[in-house]
């Protein structure tokens, strides 16, 4: 319990650094941030107005602490473009991104872990080579190419699945899943490749251990040997990779949303970039980074479940 508490405390410096980085980016960039946000067609009065609205005319330290104080109270400022609070804009877009991320993680893990186990078990054979070749290929193909291949194959040629959009789970489970299948697949491949490679590598290491040989010698059947004896001991590095890979996955989700016209955080990011709407970008970076850090905290705490030798 004390450990859990310590881990949560340890997040504070990381998130503080994230906040400082996000804040400083605006000021370290070349040129006047107010001019950049205002865009090419802005008049001097517009620029002055933005400067005052964002408090850019104040001293840097004062700006930072007012900003931080507001963030800690859940106020991430107001969008330069729409005038809506950033918190509201992000909350509106959170649902599709949440489901897409979740389904991508589940699909990738469910496919990758067995692939890695089989590849390690059959190491050196053509099965292993095929799986690893597939993994390298999946790791190299850009998310949008996979996405457009899927769109082309499933939707344009055969009209099996919807091409784009998102349906909320409240509007029916069937349509919700049908809209999620293609984006999930295209986002999951690269993440799957990462996990499959890691699973294979750690399983290979574990399978070389003495106790595996002993288990084999006393006649433990293969499935039980692989799952109970080997996988349990390989779980920690694999689970760590799953956590760290979420950063890669989030990048994929942003692009996937753009390919499939899903109105989530990714779309909000793209729209905000085009409008030079920095407060929104700032908010998105903060929210996703916090989410990423929290996911990895949960995974750290899960270690005890996989490996009882680790005690906090």
């Amino acid at each position: 319990m004390i450990y859990v508490f310590k881990r949560i405390i340890a997040l504070i410096p990381v998130l503080a650094v994230v906040a400082v980085i996000v804040f400083l980016l605006l000021h370290m960039g070349p040129g006047d941030p107010a001019v950049l946000i205002a865009g090419d067609t802005a008049t001097a009065a517009d620029i002055e107005q933005i400067r005052q609205k964002l408090g850019l005319d104040r001293p840097l330290l004062e700006q930072f602490f007012t900003w931080l104080w507001r963030i800690l109270h859940g106020d991430m400022g107001v969008s330069v473009f729409t005038g809506l609070p950033v918190t509201t804009m992000i909350r509106q877009r959170l649902e599709p991104t949440f489901w897409l991320t979740l389904s991508t993680i589940v699909v990738a893990v469910v496919m990758a872990v067995p692939m890695g186990i089989i590849a390690a078990w059959k190491a050196g054979t053509w099965i292993d080579r095929c799986i690893m070749a597939l993994a390298v290929l999946a790791f190299s193909l850009p998310v949008f190419l996979i996405g457009y291949f899927l769109i082309f194959g499933f939707s344009i040629k055969f009209a099996l699945l919807p091409v784009q959009g998102f349906v909320s789970i409240r509007d029916g489970f069937g349509p919700f899943i049908r809209h999620l299948i293609l984006p999930t697949l295209s986002g999951a491949l690269i993440y799957m490749a990462l996990i499959a490679r890691m699973t294979r590598a750690t399983m290979l290491e574990v399978l070389g251990e003495d106790y595996i040989r002993t288990a084999r010698a006393k006649g433990v059947a293969n499935p039980r040997l692989l799952l109970r004896h080997a996988l349990k001991n390989a779980a920690v590095p694999v689970v760590t990779t799953i956590g760290l890979g979420v950063a890669l996955l989030l990048g994929g989700v942003i692009v996937t949303e753009s390919v499939f016209a899903i109105p989530g955080i990714g779309r909000l990011t793209v729209d905000s970039v085009l409008r030079h709407d920095y407060p929104v970008i700032q908010g998105i970076v903060l929210v996703t980074s916090t989410g990423y850090v929290l996911i990895n905290l949960v995974i750290d705490l899960l270690y005890t479940v996989f490996d009882p030798r680790i005690r906090y």
């Binding site: 990381v14 980085i21 190491a123 850009p142």
Partner: protein, 293 residues
Amino acid sequence: MPVTLAQLELRLESSGRRPWLGFARRHPLLVFGAALLAVMVVLALAAPWIATHDPTEMDILHRLKPPSAEHYFGTDALGRDVFSRTLWGGRVSLVVGISVALLATSLGVLIGMAAGFVRLADSLIMRVMDGMMAIPGILLAIALMTLSRASVRTVVIAITVPEIPRVVRLVRSLVLIIREQPYIQAAEAIGTRYHWLLLRHVLPNIVTPLIVQATFICASAVIFEAYLSFLGAGTPPEIPSWGNMMAEGRAVVQLAFHIILYPGLFLGFTVLSINLLGDGLRDMLDPRIARRL
């Protein structure tokens, strides 16, 4: 994997008569990756001579044409030749990939060495790096691009920044091991100057893993450039890059899939070749890791 005597003999034999063949047999990934990459580089470099059309020339009468003898990869929504644009686009990708790999690695080495050798700086540097790594790379790059005017140079910087922490961590962990080695202590004892110590005694010992790391950074930078351009936050739209071409093809994907397909395939092949090269280099240069992965 254990090597049988027969395999060993085969290796000796093949390396004796045709050294190249032996090398290729021992490192198939490396050779295949390098060859594929060489093809992509040559195509990009030779773009002015191979390209059949001006990559920016519009031809309103021949829009969205499928691949033909006149236009190998068809034409896009403005009647521009997709084949020529794809070749020119390769230049952007390679410039970005190589620049980011060099820049991120050299900055990472500087910061990582400082963290590994200067105790005072260590914890501060590593906290900053932890914070940077908590931000998903693509978002950090997007945030940087929002604040600067789009150009190839800003794209390079925006992609380099998120890559630095990984290099720093690698360099620091290597330096911490090397610092305790007897030869470093010996060098310190005879009064070797600090910069010379780092340059002559530490750097050569971290070069191998760095080269492998730089290769993977190059591959990821090529993908990142395409992602940024695809999202509208990358290379300026007037420059033909693979990401830009695919972004433009998005609106007409149902009519003209070839606009997305060809640059996408070139992108995929380029990244694949660099990744294979990286895997191959790692296997060749560091057999200890190779056995594990």
